[in-house]
Amino acid sequence: MSNGRELLRLNKMPHIWCPGCGNGIITSQVLRAIQELEWDQDKTVIVSGIGCSSRAPGYLDFSTLHTTHGRALAFATGLKYANPELKVIVLTGDGDSAAIGGNHLIHACRRNIDITTIVFNNSIYGMTSGQYSPLTPTGSLATTAPYGNIDRTFDLSQLAVAAGATYVARTTTYHTNQLRDFIKKGMQNKGFSVIEAVTHCPTYFGRRNRMGGAVEMLNWQKDHAVPIRAAERLSEEELADKFIIGEFHNKPEPEYCERYAQLIANTKGQE
């Protein structure tokens, strides 16, 4: 298999991301997943919102749609629904998907429309230089939380499960093979899939929170990510500063476009 260069818009490089950014790691796993599943380059659409992470589609040689902040899933819903033949992937940030786009995420989950969403969770608003997001841990520092974040953080994967997504998994930029595996499973799921990719932002999250550079932050991920099975054996205290990775949900349900196709079949030509 080639290294995937033919799926990149190399003439758009260099990318805008900072040295040490995790966005490239996630993007490359998305590309490899597309390659391994042999998705048709001409039938694949990659949609994003606004943020550092949402700039990824610009570097990818597909039909690409860089929308407004938080709205990627709403645009993607229209696209997919209007032409179910298209394969649709949404790349989004934690602010994009959990703050301004939270409602669209909930309803995309609920509809179970066949879209694979990859959340680049760097715990911060990167593009606007480091304000706290709904996924910034309580107590962490951000430019708008100079005394420590007092907001409660929320668990986006659990939200997705509760809202009805049919494939939900979380892993990190440290666990790249697992990340690719989860992305592939999401892409293969005929329904709405959410893959939360915990990533590192050395520039705006790491530096302010004294977590070191990219390597230290990746090591932090390794030390703090606990697989679901292992977590079951740990006490609440032991889990206090940890987060859980793995597949949270994988259960097929009727897919939205298919339901509408059925509705059309039943009503078409009626007067």
Binding site: K12, Q41, D42, K43, V45, V47, P57, G58, D61, F62, S63, T64, L65, H66, T67, T68, R71, L73, A74, F75, A76, T77, G78, L79, K80, Y81, A82, N83, E85, L86, N103, H104, I106, H107, Y260, L263, I264, N266, T267, K268, G269, Q270, E271
Partner: protein, 372 residues
Amino acid sequence: MKKPVLMQGNEACVHGALAAGIGFYAGYPITPSTEIAELLAEEMPKVGGYFIQMEDEISSMAATIGASLAGKKAMTATSGPGFSLKQENLGFAVMAEVPCVVVNVQRSGPSTGLPTSPAQGDVMQARWGSHGDHATIALSPYSVRESFDVTVKAFNLAEKYRTPVIILLDEIVGHMRERIDIPEPGTYEVLERPKTDLSPQEYQPFDAPVDGIVPLAPFGTGYRFHITGLTHDRTGFPSTKPAEVDYKIRRLTSKIEMNTEDIVEWETYNCDDADTIIVAYGGTARSAQATMELAREKGLKVGLFRPVTIWPFPEKALIDIAKDKRVIVAEMNLGQVALEVERILKQDIEKVNKIDGEPITPQEILDQIEGV
């Protein structure tokens, strides 16, 4: 002609959309536009079209744009509060040059206002509601039949100029019932989306002349390109180069303004011998017509100028007809089109305005004419 049927302006709008070949509708319920969604929910699956009720108007606008990029003729409908929410992605459609139709059945505002009362307070919002420089196409029908015609035209203009087109209905026309003849297909023009004759290798989605567009290739047809709300160059990729930015942003206006004569539509009634011209549009034009007749019975030389396209405004026609005459602009707001008329005619004009949720009556305009 099919046999005449009794219907509302909102229903005629749906029939116009179906006649134009609508393939996708996304919306969120709001009075007084809801009948449009309800009727489309019923009709769309019958013609193999797609109907979806989204979680709000922001997402309805977004989904409409998404569907258009997939190659479908797409529409959304709303009223004031929802029109406000649509502004963000309406601007995206302007910037990314994605054809679509946005219906705003105007009700009394600001905010929640009077949900079931008519108004024409969104004229300037239609023009400038979304941030940044751009031109707007907005049409305002005055009858149920015209609601059909204007909707067909809106789809045609959207496809021709690769732009969102706004239909400014109002509660009067939206809910008014009239007996109309729905014209037979073939008796009105339906424009299909222009197709590019360039190969995917040659294709650049924004490589357009100042007064025109490049046909938009649907996603999934072998044309791989990038669409962004960031300012972009002719290839569609972000650019900050002043010359490219300048060209792009000026073109958003010039592609419409340089084609004003192709776009504008208006009607005149009894203007030839008139010394007094009423300017009125949408539901208010109905009252103005009655005023004109009352005035004529009294021997007063009153004519009516009725713009159908509010944006761009039929500027030349207005000058030809109304320059240096007594001009009275009647509208259900505090003088929005009046500002445009003043700007165009560069003369003092008179205004009849009403914002209490009641329509302007013929007598109220007549009182102005007679100086009561």
